[in-house]
């Protein structure tokens, strides 16, 4: 009898640990290189996909990366379609009202204006221009608040679409993350340049979670702390962002 109870208890414990092994689903946009994009094989790749693998290995959880459109990425997190957002999402007070963030895994990064080379834009006194942003981003909120009065702010579903319209001459400039725009400028062969001053918005990029996932948040935070300390995170940033950093090690 005692043996039976012990076996039952062991089975229960097994069942519990099997549940703890449940897959953590991580959503990314897949259209924001080098943060996250779809590689030639059509699979998600990039800085955040590498980082997710590192975090999940540290936290000893099984992870699966899926893609979801940017504009529905928070609603679908809340609806439970996945558990974590890692999509170059800046930590802001507005977003903190609905979701939680881990500590940042990318330091606060200045936003920049990009324009065709030699356009001679006066960014400090922008007037009567068409300014492109990706909808639902910190830059979109900033542009609505500061530029919309005298300019037309045009919102796009993805940053790539905004870039396509800038290339086609439908926009005068785009406001976006510096870490997104810098490789674009470098690879454009002089067609585009960064103009004006840095715009500091946001508190760095972190992973977004539902507010009731305290346990998962702790796991991710602990893993990030460890990855910052052992230099893995700085290594990944240097690898994907053209030798930037180090930010988190001495």
């Amino acid at each position: 009898m005692k043996k039976l109870i012990l076996t039952a208890a062991a089975l229960l414990a097994l069942g519990a640990s099997a549940q703890a092994q449940e897959t953590v689903r991580i959503a990314t946009e897949g259209a924001y290189a080098p943060w996250n994009f779809l590689d030639d094989a059509g699979k998600p790749a990039g800085f955040e996909i590498d980082l997710a693998a590192a975090i999940c290995a540290k936290a000893e959880v099984t992870c699966e990366v899926i893609t979801n459109d940017w504009d529905s990425i928070i609603p679908n997190l809340l609806a439970g379609n996945y558990d974590v957002i890692m999509a170059g999402m800046s930590i802001t007070d507005e977003r903190m009202e609905t979701i939680d963030f881990t500590q940042n895994y990318f330091p606060p990064d200045p936003s920049r204006f990009i324009a065709p080379s030699g356009a001679g834009l006066d960014i400090a006194n922008l007037e009567g221009k068409r300014v492109g942003v990706q909808g639902g981003t910190i830059q979109a909120a900033y542009a609505e608040a500061n530029l919309a009065g005298k300019n037309t702010v045009v919102s796009f579903g993805t940053a790539d679409q905004a870039m396509a319209d800038l290339g086609a001459g439908n926009l005068d400039t785009i406001l976006a993350d510096g870490a997104y725009l810098e490789p674009v400028v470098a690879a454009s062969g002089g067609a585009f340049e960064l103009v004006g001053e840095d715009v500091m918005i946001g508190n760095g990029v972190g992973a977004g979670l539902r507010k009731d996932e305290a346990e998962l948040k702790t796991k991710f935070d602990d893993a990030l702390t460890a990855l910052k300390k052992d230099g893995t995170l700085d290594g990944l940033i240097a690898k994907w962002f053209d030798g930037r950093g180090p930010y988190f090690t001495e």
Binding site: A31, D160, Q161, A164, G167, R210, K211, D212
Partner: protein, 269 residues
């Protein structure tokens, strides 16, 4: 020259492009299943509209007039979400306990156990049902009109032969109705085919979404081939695809017309 050919062959058959080609199955599935459902809903709607019992008539005409008036994009977004929440609401009343409700921080669903995860297969089925519902309302009108066009004499003759009401309906009325309904139904079918381009609204990685992704300008060698804005080239392929579907559909409907017209008086055609 050979290198060029090899390069483009390689580029057009990389994983991304293969995924794009594979995504045509979603479009074709949605069109075929949506189209079949539209005919089924159309038959049901027309039968209701023809009913001698006035509440059923009311349901039939309400369906065809309301759903026809709502933009398909709106219905496409509304129906799957409403259906999902309805299912979750029913599940919640079964599986949620006060504890699990208290533990849930999001406004919906009431507890995590009641959450229904919608992946591509689920969305695809819901999208097809939406298409069926929207265009079934058009088909209702087409079929209703076609059933009125069947000459009365045919039905009277059938009754005179001693057929039951059900036999008259299936063997004579609906059998002869197709010749009048098919031109209208081919129109409805073309509308359904066009509406399949909306699938990406429901997070289905369909042909339009992939054309958008593949055509977007790329500046980073790490991501793949560096190219400018190529979206119009990819949209052109979709253009050609839809034109081909139109041509095939026209042929198929012509064949159906010939089949439906067998043994029917020439003046009806």
């Amino acid at each position: 020259m050979m290198d060029d050919v090899n390069f483009w062959l390689g580029y057009l058959t990389n994983g991304k492009h293969l995924t794009w080609y594979a995504s045509f199955q979603f479009t074709i599935f949605a069109a075929v299943v949506g189209g079949s459902l539209a005919v089924v809903f159309g038959l049901i709607g027309a039968t209701l509209k023809n009913s001698r019992f006035w509440p059923l008539r009311l349901i039939g005409s309400t369906y065809s007039s309301i759903v026809r008036g709502v933009p398909d994009v709106l219905f496409f977004l509304f129906f799957p979400l409403a259906f999902e929440q309805g299912v979750e609401w029913v599940m919640a009343s079964q599986v949620c306990t006060p504890d699990t409700i208290a533990a849930q921080s999001a406004a919906w669903p009431p507890c995590k156990e009641a959450n229904w995860f919608l992946g591509t297969p689920e969305y695809l089925i819901l999208a097809s049902v939406s298409l069926g519902l929207v265009y079934g309302a058009f088909a209702t009108n087409v079929i209703h009109g076609a059933m009125r066009s069947v000459p009365r004499g045919q039905l009277e003759a059938a009754r005179a032969y001693g057929m039951t009401a059900r036999q008259v309906l299936w063997r004579i009325h609906i059998r002869q109705m197709w010749i009048y309904a098919l031109p209208g139904l081919s129109n409805v079918w073309m509308l359904i085919v066009k509406a399949t381009s909306l699938l990406s609204l429901l997070q289905i990685a369909d042909i339009v979404l992939w054309a958008d992704r593949l055509g977007a300008p790329n500046f980073l060698p790490a991501v793949g081939l560096v190219h400018e804005d190529w979206r119009w080239r990819y949209y052109l392929v979709l253009f050609v695809f839809y034109i081909l579907v139109t041509l095939v559909s026209e042929r198929a409907f012509a064949a159906l017309m010939r089949r439906a017209g067998r043994g029917i008086l020439v003046e009806a055609r």
